[in-house]
Symmetry: C2
Subunit: 254 residues, 2 copies
């Protein structure tokens, strides 16, 4: 599914808040004619308030059979306009949207200009100072591989193990748009990890950190060394992988 995260307090259900899980769960249960035992929905990952998704994956068990196209159309008729179900597949009973992932891909759009662009304000992170794309590209390979990302995890994280593997890390500039875009593909990402990595990379681009600072930051295993967190509005959950073959094919194409 895709959603514009602007008007959501994130994915995860929270009392009194409009969240993706809540509106999605409501639509699924309405489609299922509100069964006595409510249908529970499971997402591949929790996105924060303001974070967008092109490829969030959600699974649930319906009390009776509906074909995939019927589910897609039924849900899209019931969901609010800032969410959409793109594809639906019937999966084996054992499938789990969260625990069966073999990789995830995130996209980040950084807008660099003194003033916010009205049309990008909800869809990019805003950076006042210009960052040099070549400095960023030089630093990126230091993030690739299996590392302890303790320096790059927000304090709210519930993960005990901070070791994650990044398969690919890319950045490119769209000079006519005053944008730098990032794409990260990895085994999984810690709470706020992508946004903290982008904040550090933008500081490298702006010359506020050395191009070769990342190995030291990783080695420090200390969140205070990274400090910043790039704005949620620039982050997109682009794709969740469940098959090694699909993950490898995408990595080979990039």
């Amino acid at each position: 599914m895709a959603y514009d995260g602007t008007n959501f307090a994130g994915f995860q259900r929270q009392p009194g808040q409009r969240t993706v899980e809540q509106v999605f769960s409501k639509a699924v249960n309405k489609m299922a004619k509100d069964p006595a035992e409510p249908v529970v929905v499971f997402g591949a990952g929790r996105t924060d308030a303001g974070v967008h998704a092109f490829g969030q994956t959600v699974h649930f068990d319906l009390p009776y059979e509906i074909n995939a196209e019927g589910v897609r159309r039924g849900l899209n008729s019931l969901l609010p306009v800032d969410t959409i179900v793109k594809t639906v597949a019937i999966v084996p009973q054992s499938f789990h949207a969260r625990y069966d992932t073999v990789g995830k891909r995130y996209w980040y759009r950084a807008y660099q200009n003194e003033f916010v662009d009205p049309f990008k304000r909800n869809y990019t992170g805003h950076f006042k100072f210009h960052a040099d794309i070549e400095r960023i590209q030089q630093a990126l390979p230091d993030l690739v591989g299996k590392h302890d990302f303790t320096t790059f995890v927000a304090s709210g994280s519930q993960a005990h193990d901070h070791v994650r593997e990044i398969f690919s890390a890319e950045a490119w500039a769209l000079p006519n748009e005053d944008e730098i875009q990032f794409e990260f593909c990895g085994s999984g990402f810690l709470y706020n990890q992508v946004r903290i990595m982008v904040a550090v990379l933008m500081e490298i681009g702006q010359g506020r950190r050395a191009v070769d600072c990342i190995p030291q930051l990783l080695a420090a295993k200390n969140r205070e060394q990274a400090r910043g967190t790039a704005p949620a509005s620039g982050l997109y959950m682009k794709k969740v992988y469940y098959e090694q073959s699909e993950l490898q094919a995408d990595l080979n194409n990039h």
Copy 2:
């Protein structure tokens, strides 16, 4: 100036409503240190609630001299994030943003898909049924030229004379985006004229009207013959012209 019209009740000041004129006027007066006689702002055209602008033009008289760059930066520091001043010029005392126009250019984005796209919902008009771009392109030349557009004006219009000249009318498809885009350049447009023209053109594309229906619609001079109005969210005031030379140059480039 540019603005994202989503959260505005249009351009024109209205009691109790958030309008572009109101927030802009507030910023101008704050920059001018709230003079005893408030600075009045004049826009080139009034856009409706939800309509966007890339090139709205506004003029005002400041009680003292500020250089153009100082005005641009000062206003952008004071304006909300869904508006921005792109360029500022000092003009002769006689200049009037509304009465000195020699042409205007509007852009329209029509999204065609059964369901709304979360990321386009505020930035396109949504059309459930597919329209054929070739049928639209065949019909477009019938709108070009000097016509009485009474059939294409909304009932709230205060204009007495409904004769306007359209200099150019174009449409093209973005198949990968499920979009059809329109651009109209003319001497000026009546209330809702562009949105009514788009609604008729989309109906032509969908096969619900004949390709050659426009001459009859114009001749009828009857709003009831056109009926529909395309959604405000797809409309952008792209450019306002004050010089014949600039208008001609743009028309020659298209």
